[in-house]
């Protein structure tokens, strides 16, 4: 079965006075229908840019993007609009991702209006249906965003994203700005919507416990590159890449009986502006040698488990 989204050697560089910024650098992966790919990494690793580039909010610099097997990398005009309807995004900051001047219902119905395929009555029905689907009370229909708390604003964002029945939804840190109790409500909602509507998610976050819970597969990014990708259970059970290990060991776990063995990373992120070829993590990696200076190749170490590190066998 053709994966819903397939990406090959995707690159996105931003021009900066100091030279090209390699936000996304040679990323390859695919996501099956109804599955969730978790994309995790620290700030500045390019995970948000990756999501936005796939759905054409940013124009990709190089590489290919396939939606349901169709190449949508260089689409323009009408075809791009049709493809865009099938790919939607949910944003991180509930306070800046909803237009403060519009009522809740007009925000949710806007995609329907813009598509121009629905009559006024159909729009009103679909809006009411969407709002009840994401659990927003009917009487809030004419409320303004500043009258709602963060959790319910995020639900409005979700309702807007689902208005055109998309197949693929990029969730860009949708719960990071919410409190723990509200976070759980929104995560459950996203999972239920996936099961009911067969949605395919690309879930971007920096919170490891959230990514473990919601994703089927996880890919770990560092400075624009995917350093490791595998099923989520396998990643936590047997991390291979040194950065993934350091990332997992840095998570403060709530299990007080066996605190995690600390592997403290030294140093700071190097600059993503015209970086040297080879492994970007070499500067901070305890196992780095000259071999790491060469460009790294993404190797399938075991079925479905890809790692981008040439010294993987010595490290484990």
């Amino acid at each position: 079965m053709e994966p819903v989204i397939r990406v090959e050697h995707l690159k996105k560089y931003f021009a900066t006075p100091g030279g090209p910024l390699h936000a996304v650098d040679d990323v390859t992966f695919s996501i099956e229908a109804g599955k969730t790919l978790g994309v995790v990494g620290e700030s500045g690793c390019g995970k948000s840019t990756l999501g936005r580039t796939i759905i054409h909010l940013h124009e990709s610099t190089d590489g290919k993007i396939f939606l349901d097997g169709r190449d949508i990398t260089r689409l323009k005009g009408k075809e791009l609009r049709q493809a865009r309807e099938k790919m939607q995004i949910i944003f991180q900051d509930p306070y800046s991702s909803i237009d403060p001047r519009k009522t809740i219902s007009s925000t949710v119905m806007e995609p329907l209006k813009v598509s121009g395929r629905y009559s006024r009555k159909e729009i009103a029905d679909k809006t009411a249906e969407l709002m009840s689907l994401v659990g927003i009370d009917e009487r809030l229909r004419l409320a303004y965003p500043h009258e709602l708390d963060g959790g319910r604003r995020q639900r409005v964002g979700i309702a807007r994203a689902l208005a055109l029945d998309p197949k693929f939804v990029v969730c860009d840190e949708p719960v990071s700005a919410l409190d723990v109790s509200i976070q759980a409500q929104v995560l459950n909602l996203l999972k239920k919507l996936q099961q009911d509507k067969g949605l395919t998610y690309m879930f971007v976050t920096h919170d490891m416990s959230v990514v473990r819970h919601i994703s089927d597969d996880i890919c770990v990014m560092y400075l624009g590159q995917v350093v490791e990708k595998c099923p989520s259970k396998e990643l936590f059970a047997m991390p291979l890449h040194p950065y993934t290990k350091a990332l997992l060991s840095a998570i403060p776990s709530t299990d007080i009986d066996n605190p995690t063995k600390r592997e403290i990373l030294k140093g700071e992120l190097t600059s993503p502006i015209n970086p040297k070829p080879g492994c970007r993590f070499a500067a901070r990696c305890p196992f780095a040698t000259e071999a790491c200076e060469q460009p790294q190749v993404q190797e399938e170490v075991s079925p479905g488990h890809f790692v981008r590190c040439c010294r993987i066998r010595e490290v484990n």
Partner: protein, 296 residues
Amino acid sequence: MPETKTAAAPVQQKAKKKSEFMRVMRQLSKNKLAMVGLAILIIEILLALLAPYIIPYDYAKMDVVNAFQTPSAAHLFGTDDTGRDIFSRVLYGGRYSITTGILAVLISLVPGIVIGAIAGYFGGQVDNIIMRILDIIQAIPGMLLMIVIASVLGPGFFNTIIALSISSIPGSARMLRAQMLKERENEYIEAAQSINCSKFRIIFSHLLPNCMSPMIVSSTMGVAQTITMAAGLSFIGLGIQPPTPEWGAMLSDARQFMDQAPHLIIFPGLAIAITVLALNFLGDGLRDALDPKLKN
């Protein structure tokens, strides 16, 4: 979903739009000074509109016999060098000053918004070129530019308005551009792009409504500043010419008789000051009232 429910939705939709205006007014009423400002403005506009019918004397009728009279029961503000009643002239003069202020700002808003929106939204080269042109125009101090344009167009009511509006276009364009650049960073603009909104729709249904409140506030202050500038122009003989009872022109006449009749200079100037003060109070009040974040 019961049928009747959704049918009611569109009707309520309109109710909500109107209540946005009510919300702003309710918020504004909390600010005492703004209310004082609004009251003064309404009274002035009423007086200016009714002026021809309520002024005690014909503003142009000369009565040289009792010239230079100090304020008295008969002549509330006294009479000028040719015996004309100053109170009537100030009231009638209100028509010129207020309309000049409001019209000039309105006329300058349209090109200002268009230029600002284009520079703000498209950015890049377009923004650069527009900004450089604005830099050149704004390199000339505002008042000087206006004086030059006024002398090019020649004196007179409409010419003054046009001169005033041209010289305030760069200001409002630059202001809207700055506001657009700030709003453009918000994620709801990216969201609009992701649901296939056209550039046109993003500018007019998302960006501009959110950039409007600071523009409304600055336009209110702009009217105040324009009234002062218009009076200044007439004062140096480039704006509205005497004998029309424009406040600036009246002050300019009164200048020659300062030693004999100092009272001549008080009332026209006071009228300008009060109008400008009222507009500034209102502008400050509007700044808080239009901020959607404030709980109502």
